[in-house]
Assembly symmetry: C2
Homo-oligomer: 346 residues x 2
């Protein structure tokens, strides 16, 4: 038989209110002896309170929705893990959702999370389509944005990385190592990350007074296949380049594969630099020089922000002061796909 607070109360000869108070440590006014009597019965039956029933009255489920494009993409497990660790620390559970960057899937998930009364949502949203504000609007719980920026009413926090600065650092680094003709295989320009990284790329070039050459910049998906194809697109331009900066590590890995198959030597003939520092980056050959995004931190801090916000009364509106943006720093990870101090040599 399923055992409820009622049974415990009956067996311990107290009211259910007393049991509830003991369980929730609101027992300043409960005598030692009653408390122990209750606790004993609780233990005897291995009683665990039904959180749902409690949630109904407290209006808190301690469930957080984590909406990501695809956990199978090596960029995301770290984020998920970070969020989960912090959540667990604070007594929250995480429902996770893969959108494949499809707007209608994302919408469905947000609806589902709303129905299940998630206390909040952490989301790496999909595209900045016009429907986004409406979708987010409809969702009444606090939302934390990660990785991809966007502006809307009920967003109460953002954890971003400075893409522009990351790309700027990367390209500056390449230039300082002596590279002059820097090609760029970007992700899809409709994503904010790609757009911002392109900005950083351009700014670094102009800082060092290198002319921007749009024949050296190609746009595609954040995938290995695009890395391969992108290299070919670049080669077809018959425009000289000595290093390829890539929109992410997957592109970089694809680019390296293709270059090697075409007989180029990395980094001697052509350097390759990535972005993200996924697990694989250190394992490919040559190991990939890249820009580390602190993805564990992203998840962790996002959950931290959310937990902070959730200290306010349930259902309470966001005040402007709730809105907090954390911008995490990137870091250049020097490995072997880019020559160090190339200029000295050539």
């Amino acid at each position: 038989m399923k055992i409820t607070i009622k049974e415990i109360a009956r067996e311990a000869n107290v009211s259910i209110a007393t049991v509830s108070m003991v369980i929730n440590k609101k027992d300043q006014n409960i005598t030692e002896v009653t408390r122990n009597r209750v606790l004993e019965v609780v233990k005897k039956y291995n009683y665990l309170p039904n959180a749902m029933a409690g949630s109904l009255v407290t209006q808190r489920t301690h469930i957080i929705g984590l909406v990501l494009p695809d956990i199978t993409n090596p960029f995301f497990p770290g984020i998920a893990r970070g969020a989960e660790d912090k959540a667990n620390e604070k007594g929250y559970s995480i429902i996770f959702c893969n959108t494949d960057d499809k707007l209608e899937v994302q919408e469905k998930y947000i609806e589902s999370l709303t129905k299940k009364m998630a206390d909040g949502i952490i989301i790496a949203h999909s595209s900045s389509s016009e429907k986004m504000p409406e979708i987010l609007e409809r969702c009444k719980v606090p939302i934390i944005l990660i990785d991809r920026d966007f502006d809307s009413e009920n967003i109460c926090g953002k954890v971003l990385v400075d893409n522009s600065n990351g790309a700027h650092m990367a390209v500056s680094y390449l230039i300082e190592q002596g590279y002059k003709k820097i090609a760029y295989l970007s992700g899809p320009l409709k994503t904010r990350t790609a757009y911002e990284r392109l900005e950083g790329y351009k700014k670094a070039l102009s800082d060092y007074e290198i002319e921007f050459n749009d024949k050296l910049v190609k746009f595609g998906e954040y995938r290995i296949e695009w890395g391969r194809n992108g290299v070919n697109e670049l080669l077809e331009e018959k425009e000289d380049f000595d290093v390829i900066f890539c929109g992410n590590d997957l592109i970089a890995i694809g680019a390296m594969k293709e270059l090697k198959e075409k007989g180029y030597h990395i980094p001697d003939d052509i350097g390759v630099m990535g972005y993200d520092d996924i697990y694989m980056a250190s394992l490919v050959e040559p190991s990939l020089t890249t820009v580390r995004q602190p993805n564990y931190q992203m998840g962790y801090r996002a959950m931290e922000l959310l937990e902070e916000r959730l200290k306010k009364a349930p259902g309470s509106d966001n005040t402007p002061s709730d809105m907090k943006t954390i911008t995490l720093d990137t870091e250049i990870i020097v490995r072997n796909s880019v020559k160090i101090n190339k200029k000295v040599k050539s």
Copy 2:
């Protein structure tokens, strides 16, 4: 203001029962006109029913717990994704939990899932410690085991891969390519997977009348670092070997790294074979010949099994006939870290 079924009922001039019936499509007895009136109000307010409140009475949360060692380990995202896809298809949500293979963490998660009234749990459990049965016993919901076998009362399904057979296939393959001295870098023997793969390794050797040599078998963690260390342990034995079969791909990748650094050429000097076929396996150099475990399928089928089981009334006990075991097949993925038809050459 938060809008509930009561508001909808009032505004539509019907009872809340009617609204409930319309929403849940139990509306055979509702007139077209009432239905539409209700639906209109629902739409007007973007009303979404509070699933928790419903769950309280139906005793179904449509929440599934997915308990994994570590989503950051490349073996697991595929499983998670498979489970999530099927879950989503059937209207379930997944709460995910990382145990780091720690028993007390696992216990805590199972407790949390029980409190939150998860309808079921899919778990790649941690170690076969003596406490496991007790932990599982206490958890009253249906449990599906994945990847790692175990026996206990309320387990109502298993999705396993035949580790012994997988290893047997792999080693047989190696032998048939002409390899004779096959070293084995195993995972920790306390895990069932490692134990079974060792069985398969031994059986293949004996099938081909090759003597088992325990100097060629070393045990460590399922990690890259162990691959590196394992190679050194093998080399120290001064025992000849022409290929290393590895307990998983991470070990294989580590082994390859170490071998290459030591100046060995793969596969010409020494072959390396992995197990799992994680994403990275095709990206390392040389690309890794390995045994594919169908991990997306594992997650997917596990959720399928669970969903099937959940068609029974909530709280109903497992009958022996509920217990279903699915054993998925492995497949050899031929790449470049093992020589094909070595015997012809040498």
